[in-house]
């Protein structure tokens, strides 16, 4: 079903047999999850600076309610993998992901976390894509991506969350 832009509670799917209550409960929960994505403070290299830029006053992700960056994975909803993941970092990333409570989302920011990026060939210590370690929801291309691209990715993630079915 297509999303209507002005509808704050888009319903995931049409329910031909009724099921009115659950579908509306679904949309309310999705609305709250989508509009309150708390990212984990997790940046490994260059992309982390652009992630910080996205938080800064010029781009200001607080407008969307993302500004509550949590340092502990228990309280975060979203990992933005900002930077290269090396062989040594991989178990740490996996552990951080496991420590997050459900529902959890992942954005792979930048070429390194999508595929290894510039560190694809001739390197012995870089994971060729963070999706070898944890499932990724949204990929943002760039080396590093601009802050606008990250904001767009987060809005896309919101749309994705609004389309999920919980019950």
């Amino acid at each position: 079903m297509e999303l209507k832009d002005n509808n704050p509670f888009p319903i995931a799917e049409p329910y031909p047999y009724g099921n009115f209550f659950l579908s509306h409960l679904d949309s309310i929960i999705n609305w709250s999850r989508a509009n309150s994505l708390w990212p984990l403070v997790f940046g490994t290299s260059c992309c982390a600076i652009e992630m910080m830029s996205a938080a800064s006053a010029k781009y200001d992700w607080s407008r969307f309610g993302f500004e509550v960056a949590r340092a502990t994975p228990r309280q975060a909803d979203l990992i933005i993998i900002a930077g290269t993941i090396t062989n040594r970092m991989a178990p740490v990333l996996k552990r951080l992901y496991d420590q997050m409570p459900e529902p959890k989302y992942v954005i792979a920011m930048g070429a390194c976390s999508i595929s290894g990026g510039p560190f694809y060939y001739n390197t012995y210590s870089v994971i060729k894509g963070a999706d070898h370690i944890i499932p990724v929801d949204i990929y943002v291309a760039g080396c590093p991506p601009r802050p606008e691209a990250l904001l767009d990715a987060m809005i896309q993630l919101q749309n994705k969350i609004k389309r999920t079915k919980n019950f």
């Binding site: 929960i29 509009n35 006053a57 500004e67 459900e102």
Partner: protein, 354 residues
């Protein structure tokens, strides 16, 4: 005959004192819980907007009108998040800690007068009831930190213990100075004593000093920057609530803001006259005009003003170190409050205040 049964029931309910008490208690509980919920939502929204204004940003503005539903979304999300207890933790204590913290925060509401006659419990020792009850929260914090089985949590909890126990003294001593001036620990009596002017104006410099000390010490007691050592984000990731998620985290966050409201309400009541409008001595006309503004607006306005000051601290100052924190209390605030108390006593005895 049957048609008068409801009437009889009504008569029975309205005349039986025990039932009336039960009814009152139930109504109070509902009122407090809804008040706490609304306060939490509003204060967190206010904090985010104040922070944004100080940092040249806009703050939340997508959900609801200028982002007013943002905290609603956050709360709903936290409620629907996976409840989580770490494997090696002490499960019972881990569960109990946020409950204790939130309970102590809510209990402190009892003696605070919101407007003339609007008070849950007109307690004779109200001034001491509030810090006494509020400091129970340290047990919850220690419990949570210890039960989490996490080193960061433990360090945060220990810091919090040292901090709250120390700053309790300054809070108490600065409250005593107003008690000395009014001769009563009852909030209503204290407010009535400010009918001809607020204590912050009537009590000369010693009361101003005691207000400043109260503000500093109570900021420390509710663990906010520059005294947020127990959850120091850049040192201990999230301090004592590192392992908490979902609804339990929501309880901790709510307790923090409710505590902030209680502390600010006490400050507003003791130093700015609570719901008492701005009265100046015997300027009858002026006082009369001021009386047209309802007491609850005065109360909320003053409280929000104090809350704003505390938020202002948070978004400007860096954090103290643990030894500096304890030095500040034991070497500066405590001696100053003691001397200040002496001054206030002299002023009261000599009748120098207005």
């Amino acid at each position: 005959m049957l048609h008068i049964l409801p009437l009889l029931f009504f008569q029975y309910f309205t005349t039986n004192p025990e039932l009336i008490l039960v009814l009152k208690v139930v109504l109070s509980i509902v009122a407090v819980i809804s008040l706490v919920a609304v306060l939490g939502l509003f204060l967190i929204y206010m904090e985010r907007k104040v922070a944004a204004a100080m940092q040249l940003r806009l703050g939340p503005n997508r959900v609801g009108y200028i982002g007013t539903l943002q905290t609603m979304a956050d709360t709903l999300k936290l409620l629907t998040k996976e409840g989580f207890t770490p494997g090696e933790s002490d499960k019972f204590m881990f569960f109990l800690a946020p409950v204790i913290v939130i309970t102590s925060a809510v209990l402190a509401f009892a003696p605070i007068p919101f407007a003339k006659g609007y008070q849950f419990w007109n307690l004779e020792i109200g001034v001491f009831y509030v810090p006494a009850v509020a400091s129970i929260s340290v047990i919850g914090v220690l419990m949570g930190g210890w039960a989490s089985n996490n080193k960061y949590s433990l360090i945060g909890a220990m810091r919090s213990g040292a901090q709250i126990v120390s700053y309790e003294l300054s809070v108490g001593l600065s409250l005593v100075s107003i008690v000395v001036l009014t001769g009563s620990m009852n909030f209503t009596t204290i407010i009535m004593s400010q009918e001809n002017g607020w204590w912050i104006f009537k009590g000369h410099i010693p009361v101003v000093i005691s207000f400043v000390i109260f503000l500093i010490a109570s900021t420390a007691e509710i663990n906010r920057t520059p005294f947020d050592l127990s959850e120091a984000e850049s040192e201990l990731t999230a301090g004592f609530h590192t392992e908490y998620s979902g609804i339990q985290l929501a309880m901790f966050l709510l307790a923090e803001y409710v505590n902030m409201f209680v502390i600010s309400a006490v400050a507003a009541t003791l130093y700015f006259g609570g719901w008492m409008p701005l009265h100046i001595g015997h300027w009858e006309a002026f006082n009369h005009i001021m009386n047209f503004i309802p007491g609850v607006i005065w109360f909320v306005g003053k409280t929000l003003f104090v809350i704003f000051i505390i938020m202002w601290f948070r978004w400007t100052f860096p954090r103290l170190r643990i030894d500096q924190l304890l030095n500040l209390e034991w070497k500066y605030l405590m001696p100053i409050s003691l001397v200040n108390l002496l001054l206030v006593t002299i002023i009261t005895l000599m009748g120098w205040h207005f």
